[in-house]
Symmetry: C2
Subunit: 304 residues, 2 copies
Amino acid sequence: MKIVTLGTGGAIPTPVRNLPATAVQRGAEIFLFDCGEGTQLQFLKAGLSPGKLKAVFISHLHGDHIVGLPGLLMTLNHLSRKHSLSVFGPPGISDYIQQTCKCLQFTPGYELIVEESSGGRIHSGSDYRVDAVPVDHTVFTLAYVFEENERPGRFLLEQARQLGVPEGPLYGELQAGKDITLSDGRAVRATEVLGKLRRGRKVVYAVDTCPCQQVVDISTGADLLIHDGMFSDQLREEARLKGHSTVVQAAEIAQKAKVEELLLTHISPRYRDQDALLQKEAMAIFPHSTVAKDLMKFEIPVHK
Amino acid sequence: MKIVTLGTGGAIPTPVRNLPATAVQRGAEIFLFDCGEGTQLQFLKAGLSPGKLKAVFISHLHGDHIVGLPGLLMTLNHLSRKHSLSVFGPPGISDYIQQTCKCLQFTPGYELIVEESSGGRIHSGSDYRVDAVPVDHTVFTLAYVFEENERPGRFLLEQARQLGVPEGPLYGELQAGKDITLSDGRAVRATEVLGKLRRGRKVVYAVDTCPCQQVVDISTGADLLIHDGMFSDQLREEARLKGHSTVVQAAEIAQKAKVEELLLTHISPRYRDQDALLQKEAMAIFPHSTVAKDLMKFEIPVHK
């Protein structure tokens, strides 16, 4: 699983920070969180294939998080996409997409599935799921939890041999978590030959938001928390008024939730060469903090 | 007058060509022609001040020419714009802007004037005017003619002296084209002391379009024709089917209209390192052709 920061700014783009967009690539599928203006170009610059895009998750209907979506949908059409694309977001997103398509006479040649959510399980695949949770911004905003299902434990070869399981297809069935019966009639449960369940990877995307308990709750045990860190802590009041977090507040959330890593994003355009300052403020609270720059890549290894 | 190419691609952005947008800077005012995704960032990269933006002219409602507009309007708001902004375009543009503002709950803090046109004089300032002319694309599309009014001729000092005009404020009145009466009762007409009228500068923006007579007609005597040149002449049939021009066809238009310079834009994303090929094709017909790249600047000097 690879996280790619496509746009790490907020409100207004700058030459070094595009508007919000974060890609999660997992195997041959890409999941996109927010789609600010310019996202499709950042996709190209990051070397990501638009054809692999599986679903888009929009946090809220402020322009800087969504106006890159129509262009991306149109480009997928130019690229002759045939397989469906799902877009998830808060109530109102269907109307925005429908009106834009109508006004610009755009009819995608692929199935475009738009689903609105006020929170809860919104999407799942064979081995992962995505939950949406309302957070605390100036308009209705969803944070997203992308989490892989637990995987069966390691196959304990020595145990299987001792239980008399013959090498061959039965090994595969046990590995997949299935109980079996041997030719002599004895039953072998999968749990007898498998180590403990291996947890899936978990990424939380909470942008834009004030610091709030909901994000602590959903982030427990996350490998990566991507959190609004728009301001230095010197602008705590401005952050509150605008529905954002300071890097220190985001670091406190990460600390409370005991996440592995914190990625601070939606950095205000006022900060040009002050990443080090923001980084220092956050690290004083939570050492595993990173102030995001555009086109960074983070690998999250499988849990063994 | 300075022309700045902000986006010279078409359909899909590439790392070297943004989507259509061309700025015309004249004194302290900037006029923007088309506004593809990413235009606001190109504005910054070109060192143009968004505060100087006077009016936006949209050629047609295909997404690659307009989806950068909402983000630009929102950014002007973030920058606390107070003076009005005019947006001109074909029928349907009001609906697109209204729906986008409504769906994204965006209310500009400045006066946003949107005017639809099917052709004709659509805008004029104290010393320039802009005309819209329907051209030949797959949807209703307007070309734009930006033309300065003629300026009075040079002041012929020797003539004025010979006619007995005393040095002082009367010189200014004559220079401004006003007839005067001297203290001894003799009349002096401005035309007696002024050289011939000096023509204004003229720029034509014709993107997207198949080659058509209308563009020849409106481009006569233009200093600069900015024309659709999406394809090499090897793809003449594809150009026709998609409502575009080849660089050779555009050069033929420039030749017929006897323009000073031709700027070929809306270059297909398929051409990566083939500017020289396109340039060669166009120059074989019209030597003063340039295949546009992003962030080029062209000065058009005042006519003397």
